[in-house]
Every structure is written in structure tokens, then in C-alpha cells.
């Protein structure tokens, strides 16, 4: 299986999208080209504000601009938008529910930059912040169409964004839909909920699992807060052997926890297995290496299903190698910071 690779889906789309929106500004913190807004800056210099490596102030200035009716789109690495400036994010932006858009690139273990650069608890932290909306794009189509979704929200939006070479998994004519899961396959044995880059990883294993007769109800979720989609509830209620979540994040407080809350609140009495970072920090290495090291890859999904269904599915690591999608780990993706 292979997908179309789209180069820099955010870059040109954002330039085109913001052309007739003079209220849209870009603020950066010394990662302008790394976040694909270098050309945006050159085209709209009057709407671009370099804030230097000073995120606390950048968030405050964004709040002031938003209070005046502008819509600042902050571009930096995900980790720098919430970890250091959390008080500013909460008191200057989230409390008054201002229209600030936080474009967080390289979420989770996507960066080889190591622990300082890896946003592994951003969803957990920001789910607990009132008024926040959290979105996560999972492919090029969503990266190209998330702008309208964020733009329409009358409050702060945090976006786990993708850059560089991104696979197109979802059809071009099926854009990002707010708080609406994509149903990628149906089946009644296991309900699988994946987000972000984990969807593509899961899709490597799904055909093999289906060949073995496993019925998988696979949903891709891209709105992580609010997390009130009835499609998700229905899928959880239909799981015979259990529910699995896969996220590029700690298993504490993220999608797995959100799913657990829904299951408990609705009395859904099947087992839940959360695939993600198991309450651990990671380190600087490639995405492929880290996904394997921390049990976040297709192999981990197969093992999880074996465990929940209490049977050996007879899928080997080499079977999974053969269906490795070219896009996820091609050399084209080895980018500098």
C-alpha cells in the first residue's frame, strides 16, 4: 500500500487561504521556515511579526491582537506553545476565549530533537484548559483543510500540525470535518480509534488483520477537544472484544483517556488498551525507531488485538515490513529541524 506524498501541504494552502483575510496575522518564534511560513512572510510582510525566542511574550501579544479583532496564527513547534508559556496561554488567551490559533508542528515523537522538543503531554494538558479546542491533522488532506475549521471557532484553537512530506490518506474532496470521526473500516470485534500520524501506522496492519478474519471498526479522530462525537460513542458501544486507542502522545490524558471517560460514563464494559507513550519521556531518534522502541507501531497494534481477542493471529514482523507504506518512513522525510 502506498499513498500520494504531498510536499508541504500547509505552506501554499495557507498562503492562498489567508489572501482575502486581512485579519489573519502570523507570529513566529524563530522557527519561521521550519514551520512553513517563510514564503507567507515574504508575500504578506505587513501581517508577519517575528517575536524571537520569547514564547511567553508571543502568546501575550497574540492575546492583545486578538482582543483588537485580529486573528493571530502562531507558528512554532508544538512543545513551545504550551509547555513554557502555559500560564500565558491560560490567563491571556484561554480565559477570555480569544481567537488565537496555535499551530504546533512536530507533535509527539515526530521530532528527532529529543525530549526538549517532544510534545508528549500537550493534549493532556490542554484538554484540562477550559475554552480550548484541540485539533490534530492526520494527513495532507486534513493539513490542507484545517484552516477553515479553526477559523470558524470563536475561541483559542491548538492544532497538532504536519509539515514536510505528508501522505494523502483521505480523499481530497473529503475535508477536515469538525468533531466528526472518519470511519475507515467497519467490523464488530475491535473498535480502534487512532489520531494524527498513528492512523497511517494502523492502516499498515489493518488489511492483514482483516485477512485473518478480525472485524475492525476503525475510526480516525481529528477533533480531540471537544470529544463529543456520537460516531465515537456508537463505535465504542459496538466493540465485542475491546477498544484500542493509538496516539502519538502519552497514554495519560490524551485520546486514550478521553475514550476511557466516554466508556466509563456510558457503562461500556469492554477492555481498553491504550497504545502510546506509556507514561515515559522519549529521546532523540527517528520516528520509526521511537515508534518501535516504545511500542507505538503496527506491531504493537497486532499484539494488542491478539491480547484482547486471546488468540495468536499469526502475523509476523516481516509481514508488517512488507506493507510498510513508503510515505511514513521514506528517506524524504528525514528533515532537519
Amino acid at each position: 500500500m502506498s499513498y500520494e506524498i504531498v510536499a508541504r501541504p500547509h505552506e501554499q494552502k495557507f498562503i492562498d487561504w489567508s489572501k482575502d483575510k486581512p485579519e489573519v496575522l502570523v507570529l513566529t518564534a524563530d522557527l519561521t521556515n521550519s514551520c512553513e511560513v517563510g514564503r507567507w512572510r515574504d508575500i504578506y510582510p505587513d501581517r508577519y511579526f517575528s517575536m524571537g525566542m520569547a514564547e511567553q511574550n508571543m502568546l501575550g501579544m497574540a492575546a492583545g491582537l486578538a482582543r483588537e479583532g485580529f486573528e493571530p496564527w502562531l507558528h512554532t513547534f508544538a512543545v513551545f506553545l504550551y509547555r513554557r508559556p502555559l500560564d500565558q496561554l491560560q490567563m491571556s488567551i484561554a480565559y477570555p476565549s480569544l481567537k488565537v490559533r496555535l499551530m504546533g508542528f512536530l507533535p509527539g515523537i515526530m521530532t528527532p530533537g529529543g525530549v526538549t522538543h517532544q510534545a508528549i503531554e500537550d493534549i493532556a494538558v490542554l484538554r484540562a484548559v477550559p475554552n480550548m479546542t484541540i485539533l490534530e491533522v492526520g494527513d495532507a488532506t486534513e493539513a490542507e483543510t484545517v484552516h477553515d475549521i479553526a477559523h470558524a471557532i470563536d475561541g483559542p484553537v491548538y492544532i497538532r500540525a504536519l509539515r514536510g512530506e505528508v501522505s494523502r490518506i483521505f480523499p481530497k474532496n473529503e475535508p477536515f470535518k469538525f468533531n466528526t470521526a472518519r470511519i475507515l473500516s467497519t467490523g464488530s470485534d475491535i473498535t480502534l480509534i487512532t489520531s494524527g500520524i498513528m492512523t497511517e501506522e494502523a492502516l499498515r496492519a489493518i488489511p492483514l488483520l482483516q485477512e485473518k478474519g478480525v472485524g475492525i471498526n476503525h475510526l480516525h479522530v481529528s477533533t480531540l477537544k471537544p470529544f463529543t462525537d456520537p460516531i465515537v460513542l456508537k463505535a465504542l458501544q459496538g466493540a465485542k472484544h475491546g477498544v484500542i486507542t493509538m496516539e502519538n502522545h502519552s497514554i495519560v490524558g490524551g485520546v486514550g483517556s478521553a475514550v476511557a471517560e466516554i466508556m466509563a460514563e456510558n457503562g461500556i464494559g469492554v477492555r481498553l488498551d491504550r497504545i502510546g507513550l506509556k507514561d515515559t519521556y522519549a529521546h532523540g531518534a527517528s520516528q520509526k525507531y521511537l515508534m518501535s522502541e516504545y511500542g507505538m507501531d503496527a506491531k504493537a497494534l497486532v499484539e494488542s488485538i491478539s491480547k484482547l481477542m486471546k488468540k495468536d493471529l499469526g502475523i509476523s514482523e516481516s509481514d508488517l515490513e512488507e506493507v510498510r507504506t513508503v510515505s511514513v518512513h521514506s528517506s524524504a522525510k528525514a528533515e532537519a529541524l
Binding site: A54, N57, L65, N131, P156
Partner: protein, 301 residues
């Protein structure tokens, strides 16, 4: 500039805050003593604010802003006490939110807040909160976590610069906030983006919660530091209205800061007995309270 009127506001601030402190056995008294002339100057003529038709009754708290609901748009803002916004008008952002009582007193003195507004101070369900937030009279940002106002004011100043507005954006800060890293991030950004209509006025009372600032964390030489960050600066006696108003009128082509060095017991020398910690006045005994009652009688004579 009507310096006499400004002095009247300053005197009224001290009297109202002391009266309130006596009635409630507690108050940010030294902040009133230090900042009375500063706020008297600002509200008494330095700021170009739209008038309000009559002193405003402080509304009750209606709830926090909630995303996706009308409450965001209907949310009360304390900025209404500063009059209608307009391109030519100034904005006045209060940063040290624990000066709220002092700010409310200044608003009463300038007929922007109803005289009985302080009756609702720190009362459940009221917007006249102990630590002001953006629904409190005179506040338009939520800055009880200090040093966040200067960045927000910087954003407002950029927005006004984009719209080519002539009004200035003023921030009232306390000197303790210059211990926060965010303040310096904001100062470097304001200079870098040439926000020449951004103004900061600081109550340099040299005290903070733990005591004298030079025993907690020194910020001196403050004027040298702010100038090194690309701002122009004036250093004035914070009780000299002539000096304050002249410094506030300067047009330097840079963001400008007026450092008002103040005396935290000015007008109430009895507070000297509380040194070195002046941050909050709560009477330790009936005898002490009686002394302050006497001082109040002297003050209003």
C-alpha cells in the same frame, strides 16, 4: 494640566483606601500611599479617555467566558469604566491587579465608578474583586499573574499601529514585575517592533510581598536596564505631579517608560511602624487600629 485637580484625586485615593481598610480590617494601603499621585496624574489629565455619562454602578459577576456561547461576546469588561474606545483615545491597562482597591478609589474620585462601589469590594458575587480581573472596574485584561499585561498591551499597540490610530496605549506596572522574565521579553519586542505609542508608568515603591525588593531580588539599575532594551525612560519623584506630567508628555519616537520612584508611606507616616513588610495592612490589635483611626481623622481634616 490641572495639577491641583490631580492632587485632589491623589488625596481622595489615600482617604478612601484608608477608610476602607479601617472598615474591613485589611487593605493594600501602602500601594495607595505610593501610587496616589501616579494614578491622580493619569486619571486627572494625562490619559485621554472618553468620558462616561455618569458614575457606573459596578455590575454583578455574570459568569466566565465560555467558548462557543454568547457569554464570550456579552462578557463584561471593566474597560467600560475608561469610557468608549476610539482611535484617538488612550487605553490604560492595569497590570498589578492587587492595586485594584487603589484603582477603584481613583475611578470613584474621577466620577467613573459610583461612590458606593467599594461597598461591593471583595464581596461574593461582585465584580469589584480583591485582585482585579477583566470584569472588574478599570480592568480590561486578567493580569493577576503578573507581567502578562505588558505583552497584551504590546499586542494592542501593534493592532493600533496597523490601523494607524493616534491614541496611546498605556500600561500601569509595579516594579516587582521587572523580576519576571516576560517583562523583558515584552520590552525587547516593543522596541524591536517600534511601538512608539506604547507607554509604561511604573510605581517604583521598592517593596514587594516578602519585604524590601533589595532583600528579595534587586532590579536596579532599572533605568539603565530599560534603556538598554531600547526604550526611552524618565525617572521622576512619583509624588511630584509636575515632574510626572512632564515625563508623560514626552514624545521620543520610542516606547517610553516613566519610572515613578515613590514612598510607600507617603501621606500616612504611621505605616513606618510596619516596616519592613508593607505589602498588606491588617491590624494586629485594637490599639493599632485606633492609631489608624486617628490618622484617618488627621488625613481628612
Amino acid at each position: 494640566m490641572d495639577l491641583q485637580k490631580m492632587q485632589g484625586i491623589a488625596d481622595g485615593i489615600r482617604q478612601r483606601v484608608l477608610a476602607h481598610t479601617l472598615a474591613n480590617n485589611g487593605g493594600y494601603m501602602s500601594q495607595a500611599c505610593s501610587a496616589a499621585e501616579l494614578l491622580g496624574a493619569m486619571y486627572g489629565g494625562v490619559l485621554n479617555l472618553a468620558p462616561v455619562s455618569e458614575p457606573i454602578n459596578p455590575p454583578f459577576f455574570k459568569g466566565v467566558p465560555v467558548v462557543g456561547t454568547a457569554s464570550v461576546k456579552e462578557y463584561l469588561t471593566g474597560a467600560q469604566f475608561h469610557g468608549a474606545k476610539g482611535p484617538n483615545f488612550d487605553r490604560f491597562i492595569i497590570s498589578p491587579a492587587h492595586y485594584a482597591l487603589v484603582v477603584y478609589a481613583a475611578l470613584i474620585e474621577t466620577d467613573r465608578l459610583r461612590e458606593d462601589g467599594l461597598d461591593f469590594f471583595n464581596k461574593d458575587g461582585s465584580t469589584v474583586e480583591l485582585i482585579g480581573a477583566e470584569h472588574s472596574p478599570g480592568f480590561e485584561t486578567t493580569t493577576g499573574s503578573l507581567a502578562q499585561a505588558i505583552s497584551q498591551a504590546g499586542g494592542i499597540a501593534i493592532a493600533r499601529k496597523i490601523r494607524k490610530e493616534s491614541g496611546k496605549t498605556w500600561v500601569f506596572m509595579s516594579d516587582g514585575e521587572f523580576q519576571e522574565g516576560q517583562t523583558w521579553e515584552a520590552f525587547q519586542a516593543a522596541a524591536f517592533h517600534k511601538l512608539d505609542k506604547l507607554r509604561v508608568i511604573v510605581d517604583v515603591n521598592q517593596g514587594q510581598c516578602d519585604g524590601p525588593m533589595d532583600s528579595v531580588m534587586s532590579i536596579e539599575p532599572l533605568v539603565g536596564r530599560v534603556k538598554a532594551f531600547g526604550w526611552s525612560a524618565s525617572v521622576v519623584d512619583g509624588h511630584d505631579l509636575d515632574a510626572i506630567t512632564q515625563a508623560c508628555a514626552l514624545e521620543t519616537g520610542h516606547p517610553h517608560v516613566v519610572l515613578c520612584y515613590t514612598d510607600p508611606v507617603r501621606g500616612l507616616p504611621l505605616l513606618n511602624e510596619r516596616r519592613p513588610v508593607l505589602h498588606y495592612l491588617r491590624f494586629k490589635s485594637k490599639e493599632e487600629q485606633a492609631k489608624y483611626e486617628l490618622a484617618y481623622k488627621e488625613m481628612v481634616k
